[in-house]
């Protein structure tokens, strides 16, 4: 994949501290359109509405120090039984400083058996990640984790 001319590559690395190659097209990251904590708060409001969000129940597993922001393993689990009367309806994950505040919405149900999902995410900067779980009784529970990212997303080709 790395067919890129060395000097061009160096040039880009020097320029933005970040260069990416995609096939043969050099891509430079620009991050002027960074989300802000206010945007994250707005995105969270979109999901929870006026409901109160309590801290607890939710566990967000993500490495505290991320070397490569392009692919960061993340696991969210909620300590709540999964019975037909009492279950986790959905899990929502947000970030503070990517270009946009949403990461993913995951809809489960009583048939899930265990309220746990994993995926791989992108992080454009060191920031706070928030996971919110919505239970069947309408309550919301959250957890937030601070992550330090040394190489921002979109700066390297992903496998």
């Amino acid at each position: 994949m790395h067919k890129q001319d060395e000097s061009t590559r160096r040039q880009f690395l020097g320029l933005a501290g970040s260069a990416a190659m995609l096939g043969a097209v050099p891509i430079v990251t620009l991050r002027p359109s960074e989300a802000t904590p206010a945007m994250m708060a707005a995105a969270i409001r979109n999901v929870v509405g006026a409901a109160e969000v309590r801290t607890g129940k939710v566990k967000l597993d993500v490495p505290p120090l991320v070397e490569n922001g392009n692919t960061v393993p993340m696991t969210v689990s909620v300590s709540n039984p999964m019975t037909p009367d009492d279950y986790v309806r959905s899990i929502h994950v947000f970030n503070e400083k990517n270009p946009q505040p949403n990461i993913g919405n995951f809809y489960l149900g009583p048939r899930a058996g265990r309220a746990q999902i994993s995926t791989r995410i992108r992080l454009a900067d060191s920031q706070k990640i928030v996971a919110i779980a919505r239970l069947s009784d309408g309550s919301f529970w959250s957890v937030s984790v601070d992550v330090v990212v040394t190489l921002a997303a979109c700066t390297e080709e992903v496998i």
């Binding site: 880009f12 990416a20 995609l22 097209v25 050099p26 891509i27 430079v28 990251t29 620009l30 991050r31 359109s33 392009n70 692919t71 960061v72 970030n95 990517n98 270009p99 946009q100 949403n102 990461i103 993913g104 919405n105 995951f106 809809y107 489960l108 149900g109 048939r111 899930a112 058996g113 265990r114 309220a115 746990q116 999902i117 994993s118 995926t119 791989r120 995410i121 992108r122 992080l123 997303a153 979109c154 992903v158 496998i159």
Partner: protein
């Protein structure tokens, strides 16, 4: 060119909680990057993933540009009966892919 990798146990006991792992090959171009001449690379991501168990939806996800390339998603379900899992990915530019896996429950 898209291809899916699915990992579902072939056999399970009734009532057992099983883990389902899925991976769809996709670039997940976030739409915020620019080429050397300043043009924005248009967004091209998977926006939705659904899993049905014998026709009933058991898991669904909305994906955003913050999901890494080749979306890898794992989740759990209770093995209730033998049958089929159907997976569907829907994305930008008319992207749709499906895959399925079967399970035998004793």
């Amino acid at each position: 060119m898209a291809s899916a990798l699915i990992n579902v146990p072939a056999k399970a006991k009734r009532g057992e909680i099983i883990e389902i792992k899925t991976l769809m090959s996709h670039i997940m171009e976030p739409g915020y990057r620019r080429t050397a001449d300043g043009k924005i690379v248009p967004r091209d991501i998977i926006t939705s993933f659904t899993c049905r168990y014998n026709g009933v939806e058991i898991f669904r996800a909305d994906l955003f540009p913050a999901i890494a390339a080749n979306p890898f998603i794992t989740f759990f379900t209770v093995a209730t009966e033998s049958g089929k899992f159907d997976f569907e990915w829907i994305g930008d530019r008319g992207f749709t892919e499906t895959a399925s896996a079967s399970i035998s429950v004793e």
